[in-house]
Symmetry: C2
Subunit: 308 residues, 2 copies
């Protein structure tokens, strides 16, 4: 048995896996692929050379298939860097379940830098889900720096859901996207920081083709002494639609900085954003407490709903 | 007669003046005060030393008085720099009408840098109106770089209306404000750029006292090849309310960049912003044209309403 209980718990947290799923799977543990299986439509192979990593090719016309590519770090103080390339073939419709879980019981820092390139070919549809999670000793430092570069080709549709569940001490999330003619990109981000954690998210979307559309929806909660910096830039180079929305709940001694950036380079570009940073609404709290919840239970319920 | 017709036209454009108003007035033309009169409650005097300029003191308890302090540049290629200090005494209620008009018929650039410090003492109320306007030959460069530093003391209320009417080729508007306990600041900005004009506006507001509030409302229109950069940062250091709203109409080959920035440093800070960049709504245009307006007339009517 290659995977122990600890491994399976991490895989469940970041990729909802209760066993090894059917279909295409690649599980990376401490820098190595411990399980790799392709399916007839989704081919997994190794990238070699300067930028070692995984290549995932989803064949054109593939229908409703899912590929799991989670990463786990269990060896204390392990430093992992990987370059992954995902190609979703023309008119394919697929789901990629990524994610990274760290278990670190040491005083050292464990770190995963995942550099993902995602290409969604003409007319294809992709749903991409990535969850980040850390656990372990109080002195451990769990660091996750995902870099994602996305190309949405003509008429393609991509939805990315990126969630930082908890236990990540330091993260710099960098996402760059290029949306071509009639392409459609939606990025949903959910983030929770606690203790002394720091999270930085930097999203840059270039809408380059006529009729392109992009949307960024970010929700975050900052508790205790944590710090969050959210920056999302929308650059409309043509007749396009773009929208950024970020809502944050701030608690305790946390600090949140939110910097959306709109750049209209064409008179037919329509770009909008909204943002709000504030505490939990008092009425919501009182309502739940009047139903018998303690204050802590009520807060937890509200945060859970907010980040869902 | 110190002021000629050209002077009066400029003064009318930037300060709505049809003659020399009663009460406190200071008219600066090409670097010199050509008219200065104090009133019993509003005392005008010269600042000397390293930072020459005008000092305006509004006595505590003053009620409903207005002071006019416009600046005009009529000498081609004139470069003017002035430091002005405005002190609104405790519990006073006053209006300051500033503004700068340039008439430049040369190939040289005329430039006015006004560095304004505005202090609104406890419980005082200030309305501050500043209009910028340039005219002259096609080869002329009219440059206006206003720097404004505002302190809103405990319980004071300040509303600033800053308008760039037209004809300003290059502007860097820099505004910094500090809002104390229960102080309230509202900044309204209106901006039109055309041709090859560039406008940069940089607003930074620190809400430092409990119960402080700040609001920035920006509306702008960018036509032809012009470029606008709008940055507004709200920093909430305490239990406070802050809101930034920016709406821009983009036309022709213009480019607009909008970067609001929210920084919550306290869990009781509530900060929000909204922004939209887009073209004139088609339905509005069609409605006005169906009432008999030409397309140009309809566009002008919509822009006028938007910037009012």
């Amino acid at each position: 048995m290659k995977l122990n209980n600890l491994d399976m718990d991490l895989l469940n947290s970041v990729a909802g896996m209760h066993g090894i799923p059917k279909g295409a799977v690649n599980i990376r543990r401490d820098g190595e692929a411990v399980i790799r299986q392709s399916s007839s439509n989704i081919i997994l192979s190794s990238l070699t050379g300067n930028k070692p990593g995984l290549k995932v090719e989803i064949k054109p016309g593939t229908r409703n298939e899912t590929v799991h590519v989670p990463v786990i770090l269990t060896q204390p103080g392990f430093q992992d860097k990987v370059y992954n390339t995902f190609i979703v073939g023309e008119d394919a419709d697929a789901t990629i379940i990524a994610g990274c879980g760290i278990h670190n019981n040491s005083h050292a820092s464990s770190r995963h830098d995942g550099i993902h390139e995602i290409i969604i070919r003409r007319g294809a549809r992709l749903k991409y889900i990535e969850k980040h999670y850390g656990e372990g000793g109080e002195k451990a430092q769990n660091i996750l720096n995902p870099t994602t570069i996305i190309t949405v080709e003509k008429g393609a549709v991509a939805e990315l859901e990126m969630v930082q569940i908890k236990g990540v001490d330091d993260t710099i999330r960098s996402t760059k996207a290029y949306v071509h003619e009639k392409g459609n990109l939606k990025i949903v981000e959910r983030l929770l920081t606690q203790g002394e954690q720091r999270a930085e998210s930097d999203i840059e979307i270039y809408i380059e083709g006529d009729g392109g559309a992009a949307q960024v929806l970010s929700r975050s909660v900052a508790q205790e002494n944590s710090y969050q910096l959210f920056r999302a830039a929308l650059i409309g180079k043509t007749a396009c639609l773009g929208h950024v929305e970020c809502d944050a709940i701030i608690m305790d001694n946390a600090r949140i900085k939110s910097i959306p950036e709109l750049m209209a380079e064409d008179a037919e570009a329509v770009l909008t954003h909204e943002a709000a940073i504030g505490k939990i609404a008092g009425e919501q709290l009182i309502k739940l407490m009047s139903l018998g919840l303690t204050e802590k239970e009520a807060v937890d319920a509200i945060l859970e709903g907010f980040l869902k």
